[in-house]
Subunit: 304 residues, 3 copies
C-alpha cells in the first residue's frame, strides 16, 4: 500500500514509502533474473504518454509494464496526436483515463504533471515535467545508492555540473533531504548553480549544503552525481566550450576515489568513457534498475 494515488513529486517519497517500494523492487529484480516476467499486472492497461523526447525513461517504463504482463497503450510526441489540433492536456488526460488503469506521462511543461493528475480518474505517475520533477528517477538513484552503500542517511554527496535546471537533481535531493545527516555539495559553472529556493528548502529540511568553485581537489564523498551541461543554456558558445572541457570526470579522477559515480544519463562529455569499466562507475547499472523500481511502483500503485 502506498499513501498516494498519484506520484508527482519526490516530496511524497518519505522514508517509509521508499522502504515499501524498494522491498518490492528487490523482489522484482530477483523475478526478472529468474523468470523474466511476472504476471502480476496481466489484467491492467498502462498508458505511456511521452510528449517529449525520451529513451531511457520511455523504454524502461515499457519494459517494466511488459515484464509485469500488463497491456500498454502508447502515444509519443505531440505532433503525432491531436495535440496539434489544439486540444487541452486536461481533456486528453480525461480521455486516456477512460482507456487505461494507470497513466505515465512525460511532458515539457513544469507543473503539467500535477495538472494532469488532478484530471485523471486513474493513478498517475510523473515521468518528468520539464525542469521541475522526475520522482521515479530519484527512486532509481536512491535505489542504486542503497544497493551499493547500504544506507540513505549520513551521506556526503557532491552534485554537478548543472544543478540549476536538472529535474533529476531536484527530485533526488528532495528525496534524500527526508533522511538524517546528509550533506550535499554542488559543483559546476556559476551560471548553473542550484536555485536559492532549492538550497533554502534543503537547509530547512536539515541538509548541510555547500557550493564549490570549480572542481574539488579530491572526490572525497560517498557519492558523486553528475549530469551533462546543455549547450542551449549558454548564450555564449565559447563559455560553454570552456566549461565543457573543464567540467568532466577523467579516468584518473574516478580511479582515485571510492565514491559511487552516478549519472542520470544521457552522458555527453561529463564522464570520460575510459572510466566506464571502473568498479565505482555504476551509471549503467543505475539505468538498469529503472525496470525493477518502475515495476514495483506500477504494481504497488495498482494494488492500492
Amino acid at each position: 500500500m502506498l499513501p498516494f494515488k498519484s506520484l508527482i513529486s519526490s516530496h511524497q517519497l518519505t522514508p517509509d514509502t521508499v522502504a515499501t517500494i524498494f522491498e518490492s523492487a528487490h523482489k522484482m529484480q530477483t523475478a526478472i533474473e529468474s523468470k523474466g516476467r511476472v504476471g502480476s499486472l496481466e489484467n491492467a492497461i498502462v498508458a505511456l504518454l511521452f510528449f517529449e523526447p525520451s529513451s531511457r525513461t520511455m523504454l524502461s517504463f515499457q519494459s517494466a509494464a511488459q515484464r509485469l504482463n500488463a497491456g500498454t497503450i502508447f502515444a509519443q510526441n505531440a505532433t503525432s496526436t491531436s495535440f496539434e489540433k489544439g486540444e487541452s492536456l486536461e481533456d486528453l488526460i480525461r480521455i486516456v483515463a477512460g482507456y487505461s488503469d494507470i497513466i505515465v506521462m512525460r511532458h515539457a511543461q513544469p507543473g503539467s504533471a500535477q495538472m494532469a493528475a488532478d484530471c485523471s480518474d486513474v493513478p498517475f505517475i510523473n515521468a518528468g515535467d520539464g525542469g521541475n520533477e522526475h520522482p521515479t528517477q530519484a527512486l532509481i538513484d536512491a535505489f542504486t545508492i542503497e544497493k551499493h552503500i547500504g544506507r540513505l542517511d549520513n551521506l556526503k554527496i557532491v552534485f554537478g555540473f548543472d544543478s540549476l535546471q536538472s529535474r533529476s537533481i531536484h527530485s533526488l535531493t528532495r528525496l534524500l533531504s527526508q533522511y538524517p545527516n546528509n550533506e550535499f555539495s554542488f559543483m559546476g559553472p556559476s551560471e548553473l548553480a542550484p536555485p536559492p529556493a532549492m538550497i533554502s528548502e534543503l537547509e530547512a529540511a536539515g541538509v548541510r549544503c555547500t557550493q564549490i568553485k570549480g572542481l574539488p581537489d579530491k572526490l572525497d564523498y560517498d557519492v558523486v552525481y553528475v549530469n551533462r551541461l546543455q549547450e542551449e543554456r549558454f548564450a555564449d558558445k565559447s563559455i560553454f566550450d570552456k566549461h565543457r572541457r573543464f567540467y568532466r570526470l577523467s579516468y584518473d579522477m574516478v580511479a582515485a576515489t571510492q565514491a559511487l559515480i552516478l549519472d542520470p544519463l544521457p552522458r555527453i562529455d561529463e564522464i570520460d568513457v575510459t572510466a566506464d569499466d571502473l568498479p565505482n562507475a555504476v551509471y549503467f547499472q543505475q539505468a538498469s534498475y529503472g525496470v525493477p523500481v518502475r515495476m514495483a511502483l506500477l504494481s504497488l500503485m495498482l494494488s492500492n
Copy 2:
C-alpha cells in the same frame, strides 16, 4: 457473426448489425469493469496503421486490442515508414495482411479505406479516411445515445458546428438514417453547412432535415452533437474568430436543456469547460465507450 469482412462505411451498419455489436459491447464493458482484460483474441495480431495524427482513436484501438489480449503491430505517420520511399498504399496493405490477422487504418485520403480493404487478405477496419467516413466513431456515438436514451429511432438531433467536412457527422447521420422517424437539424456557419448530397441521401432514407441559421433559441432536442470549427477551413481569419466566439455551448445553454451533449472530440472551443460536470455533458463517457465498442467489433470480425 457480422455480414461483412471489412468495415468501411456506416452504410454497412444496419440496425441488425448494430444490435449484434452493441450486445457484445455491453458484455465487453462488464468484463473490463470486473476483470480488466478478456482473453478472447489471445491468438490474434491486430495491425494498427495510423498515417494521420490521432490520439483517441489510436489509443482506444490499442486499448481494445490489449484488453482482448491480442498482439498488436503498430506503424504511425507516413514519414516513419517506407511510404516516403514512394511505396503504394496497395503494396503496403498486401504486406501487412501477411503479418497480421486484422488491419485497422487511419489515412488522410478519402476513399483510401476502400482501396486498402480491396487489397487486404485479412479483415479491415476504417478508422477514418479523410473527410469521408469514420464508422467506428458512429458506432460509439450511437452506443452512447442508446445507453443514455434507450433508443436509436424517433430522435430529434441537432448537429453542428462543422457539418461540411466532419467524417464523424457523415458517418453517424448515415447510421441513424437506417432507423425510423429520426429528425436532424444542422446549425453552424453557412460556410460549413452539410453538403447537399448528404442532405439528399438522408432525405431519401426518410430523415427529416432542417438547417438552422445561427443558434436555436432553445436546445429542445434529444441529442446535441457538436464538433470544433477548424481554423484552416477559413481563408479570412477574422470571420473564423467571429464564428468561434459565437458557435459554442455555454454552461447556461447546457444547463437549460435535457438534451444529451455529445462531441467526437478533440474539443477546442465548441463547449465551455465549465459545462463538463453537468449530468447531460457525457462526451468523456462517450470517448470511454470507444474501448468496449472496438473490442466488440474486433472480436466479432475475427470470429467470422
Copy 3:
C-alpha cells in the same frame, strides 16, 4: 543452437546455420496457420530500435515477437529519443541491454550493427545498417527460394537494378555464395553495377559472376531478384527518368519466364503491378515469410 550470440552479417549464415533456422521457420509457419501465436518467448522482452524509416522490417519483427508472446519495447526515429541530446549509440545500447533480453536494431550508419553488438550484454540482430548488410532479409529471400525451388545450390540468378548500394543484394549474394555451383548475373545501369570488391569476394567463394548490359533478351534464370532505382543516387534527373522507364519488368517479361520473381520491397517502378497475380511473382509471399523466419531466429537466439 546457433553458433553466434549476435547476427551482424550473412557471412555468419553458413549452410548448417541456415538449415537450423529454416527447420524452425517451417514449424513456426505451421504454428501461425494453426494457432496464431506460440508461447515460446513469453518470458522474454525484445527491444526494437528503428532509427531509420522502415515498414516491412519493423512490422514483421513486431509481428514475430508478438506471435511468440514476447514483450516488446520500441523506439523509433532518433528525433523521438535522447539521441538528439547527443548521446552515443554505444551508451544507448548498453542501457537498452539492461531493459531487454535481445536487441533488434536498424540504423542508417554502415558498421553501426557491429559497434552496437560489441557493446551489448544481450544477443543482437542487425535489421539493416545503411548500405552494408541486412542478414535477416537474406534469410527471408533464401527461405523463399528454398520453399519454391527446393534448393540453394546450382542456381542461376540475375540481380538488378541497383546492385551497388543494396544491402539486400549484398547480404543475399553473400549467403548464397556459401552453397556450391551458383551463378549470378547483374543487370542495371552501369552507375549501379555491383562494387568490384563484392564481385571479387563472390568469385573467391566460387560463384561465377557476369554483368549484363541493359536487360537480357530472355529471363532464362531460376530466380530474378530486382529492387528499385533510387532517385537520390542520380545527380542528373533526366538520366534517372530514362533508366526508370527502361529498367522494369513488364507483365510480358514475367509471364514469359518460369523464373521466381523476388523483390525485397518497397516496389516503386521495377515491376509492373499487372504482373502481381502471375504465379511466379512471389514477392508478397516473400514478405510474409518475414514473420516465421524472424520468429525462428528470435527463438533460436534466445534459447542459446
